[in-house]
């Protein structure tokens, strides 16, 4: 893997503009660093997906099935018949260009084909050329072009440079959603065996082992116990989280990144401490130990398949409702797809009620799934937990709205309520970069892989620059988020664009501030760093 070592100046050495040749004639050049590695044959074989093989985008011959053209045509036809969204989005774009500079990859790279309109035109031109009378007869004059091998390569290049963040769709006067177009394009590529390992291996793992990272049940238990050791070190309280146990009211599911990866683990510790403190009757599951769903980025069918385990496990364990952890795309799936894919929910599940406050979660009556930020915000609102803000006093915090909870759900206030209850120093980034206009971490939709760091840093410019703005203006040193992918991707992003800013989950802040019954005097935060406010108050005393 080529190490990414460009400076920001080198990276931004481009001007927005357009090449002299038309976009249909302009072809992408694959080179190490601008594509994610293809999926390994055994991964594809395990999943029963088509065309497992060793191949590289650098090869001239991508070893596609012999009848690949027919497969693409049939695949498109099938999807045009099944998805009105796809069909309408193929037909009604007027190329007004409102979406053009809304994409983070375009803003940070200047490649015109990263303008959402052109990304979609890559597919639209084939739609016109293959499926419309005008396109068939008039060809290029009607905006159509023939399906060639170069087109497939171009699709791979650009539909894996879209994080399905939906920012463009917010600005489109017709609501054309590039995420939808990208999802379909990736499905078509899947039919040919053109896919990336960073996405397919987690899918394989999640299917068999219950989570993306492939943590097996006994290892999962070990890790959780290890985190409980840390909690004991910090608070003096021993927590024993139930696992795979039947008969608990709540099944808690969070992305496996929270269990495994720094700094997600601190967020996970925050959840466990909170549940312990309020005495929540819950269980974890190793079988459904993944909140995230890389199936969303693979195909609608795979999304359904992976998501099905949540209800299956709730039914097996007899849980009344499911509480979901901090994860971005997980919540797009839950909020917009889950009940349609795998509902209605198991008959014994009930409308979620917060057992501590009695609040009925009226927006979750069908799926029976509640977001942890909604849950904790409700606890805070009813004064059911005690929080000591001083423990977060050294943090100047801003909040990164993750794409999916923003534009596929609309959860803006709940996490902010939680953060503001946990720390005094909260600062918003500029309005055009937060809430519904938020920018992606540039590693979403399965693109959080190392080998495309240049692409990620380019795409990270808008977020990174907004972060740098509040860093300079308000001395912000922490960016909180409610997404496990963010917690992994924003670290290199911040290191690159706003060095000195750390990343944390919202419930890490909760865990830090939470005053637990019977806890020892806290001298450390969840990362086991000394709490600065103690020194300061000691100095004041002296």
């Amino acid at each position: 893997m080529a190490k990414f070592n460009m400076t920001p100046d080198e990276l931004l050495n481009f001007q927005f503009g357009a090449p002299n040749v038309g976009w249909m004639e302009h072809k992408p050049v694959f080179k190490e660093g601008n594509f994610a590695y293809p999926a390994k044959p055994d991964v594809i074989r395990d999943l029963g997906f088509p065309n497992p093989r060793e191949w590289s985008p650098l090869d001239e011959d991508w070893k596609l099935p012999e009848n690949w053209m027919e497969i693409v045509r049939e695949g498109m036809k099938d999807r045009l018949e099944r998805y009105r969204s796809f069909k309408i989005f193929m037909d009604i774009c007027v190329r007004c260009g409102a979406c053009a500079d809304k994409c983070h990859f375009y803003i940070g790279g200047g490649d015109p084909k990263n303008m959402p309109v052109l990304r979609a035109e890559l597919l639209r031109s084939i739609y016109r050329g293959e499926f419309t009378a005008a396109g068939k007869i008039l060809g290029k004059w009607a905006g159509g072009r023939p399906l060639t091998m170069d087109v497939v390569k171009e699709w791979f290049f650009y539909f894996y440079q879209c994080t399905e963040c939906r920012r463009c769709s917010l600005f489109c006067p017709y609501g054309i959603d590039t995420a939808e177009v990208t999802m379909i394009a990736r499905e078509l590529l899947q039919l040919l065996g053109v896919n990336i390992n960073w996405m397919m291996e987690p899918v394989r793992n999640c299917n068999r082992m219950g989570n993306h990272l492939g943590i097996q049940p006994h290892a999962f238990k070990d890790i959780v116990e290890f985190l409980c050791d840390d909690i004991e070190t910090i608070t003096g309280i021993r927590i024993k989280p139930p696992m795979n146990e039947k008969g608990h009211e709540v099944l808690f599911i969070t992305p496996s990144g929270d269990v495994f990866a720094d700094p997600g683990i601190y967020t996970f510790m925050g959840y466990l401490m909170l549940f312990h403190e309020i005495g929540l009757d819950y269980t974890l599951s190793t079988y459904a130990s993944e909140g995230g769903n890389f199936g969303l980025f693979t195909s609608h069918e795979m999304m359904k398949k992976l998501n099905a385990k949540m209800y299956a496990e709730a039914e097996r364990l007899g849980s009344k409702w499911i509480l979901g952890g901090e994860c971005g795309h997980m919540w797009r799936v839950i909020n917009q797809y889950m009940s349609t894919h795998n509902g209605p929910c198991p008959p014994k599940m009930e409308t979620p009620v917060n057992p501590i406050t009695g609040t009925v979660f009226r927006n979750a009556t069908e799926t029976k799934m509640v977001h942890i930020a909604e849950f904790t915000a409700d606890l805070i609102r009813h004064n059911k937990i005690k929080l000591d803000k001083r423990r977060n006093a050294h943090l100047n915090v801003t909040f990164h709205d993750s794409c999916n909870p923003a534009r596929g759900m609309g959860m803006f206030e709940e996490p902010r309520e939680v953060i503001k209850a946990c720390c005094d120093n909260f600062f918003e980034m500029p309005a055009q970069t937060i809430r519904e206009q938020t920018f992606c971490c540039a590693g979403g939709s399965g693109l959080n892989t190392e080998e495309i760091m240049e692409i990620r840093m380019r795409g990270g410019l808008p977020r990174g620059n907004a972060l740098r703005h509040v860093q300079q203006k308000h001395n912000v040193n922490t960016m909180a988020c409610v997404c496990a992918i963010d917690r992994a991707t924003l670290i290199p992003l911040a290191d690159y664009w706003a060095p000195g800013v750390g990343i944390c989950g919202v419930h890490e802040l909760v865990g830090n501030a939470l005053i637990m019954k019977g806890e020892q005097e806290r001298t450390m935060d969840l990362r086991q760093n000394d709490l600065p406010y103690l020194d300061e108050s000691a100095e004041e005393d002296a």
Partner: protein, 338 residues
Amino acid sequence: MAFFISLILVLTLCAASYYGAEAGMQWLFGMTIPYLAIAGFVCGFAYKIYSWAKSPVPFRIPTTGGQQYSHEWIKNDPLDNPHTVSWTVGRMLLEILTFRSLFRNTEVVIHRTEDGPRVAYNSARWLWLFALIFHYCFLVIFLRHFRFFMDPVPFFVRGLEFMDGIFQIGAPRLYQTDVLILAAVGFLLLRRVFDQKVRYISLISDYFPLLLIGGICLSGIYMRYLSKTDINAVKTYVMGLFTLSPVSAEGIAPIFFMHLFLVCALLLYFPWSKLMHLGGVFLSPTRNLPNDSRMRLHVNPWKPPKKYHTYEAYEDDFREFMVEAGLPVDKPLDKADA
């Protein structure tokens, strides 16, 4: 290039109809083609809507642009994130009548400073403004033309005419919409030609309808204000067409047939082009659905089967490890082996 091809196309249409009418083919440009065009437009439009409606909407995928409906004490933003059908209608109305999404438009500028890059998002509402002017002027002008199709002239047409000419400039009175629509078409066209990135994405099918509409406006304006075409003769002629008893086109200038022919070209072109955004915007699944799938069951009409890796299969894979780690299992080791 695409611009010039479109321009040549439109000029060819103009020339064909003008000289055709002059050469005595008024029946073709003034009767046969209009009938065909109206039929083609109605059928094409209906077909297109039908073909869209035929594909189901399996998932509720609204783009949420505001706070969701959750706790009572959190104010939700129902127009940008509707949770009911009525709020969704509200969102659609705002979208269709005021182009709300386009109103959000910004323009990115990267300032490269000594202190590193600064990405700025400038307000960029010109597109919104001119798009809005264009569409509303088009609507008013379309409605004003009902004076040629209906006798007596309906009151709303008279009202529109009065309002449109309220400044009482010149004779015949100058309609503001005539000026504004030219300005709007001009803006949209110049933007396409001179904004580099918009030019890069523009196809013939982007320039052509714009130039065609420009041609329609110019020919109409020419007739009204410059050549002062005999509108009584035109009305008699058009009424003849609409009552299916065509009268002679004697005495009507060729420019009228050019105007009419361009309109016909637009009608025929419409259903097969991007102009169908007129119909499509109503059907866009990211706008016309409530964000309510956590509250209400939405069934996928093609009901795919549910297949997944079951817990039983998972336990079979890991039972020994699970037992060893003290995790509960559904089938104890001895029974599973048997």
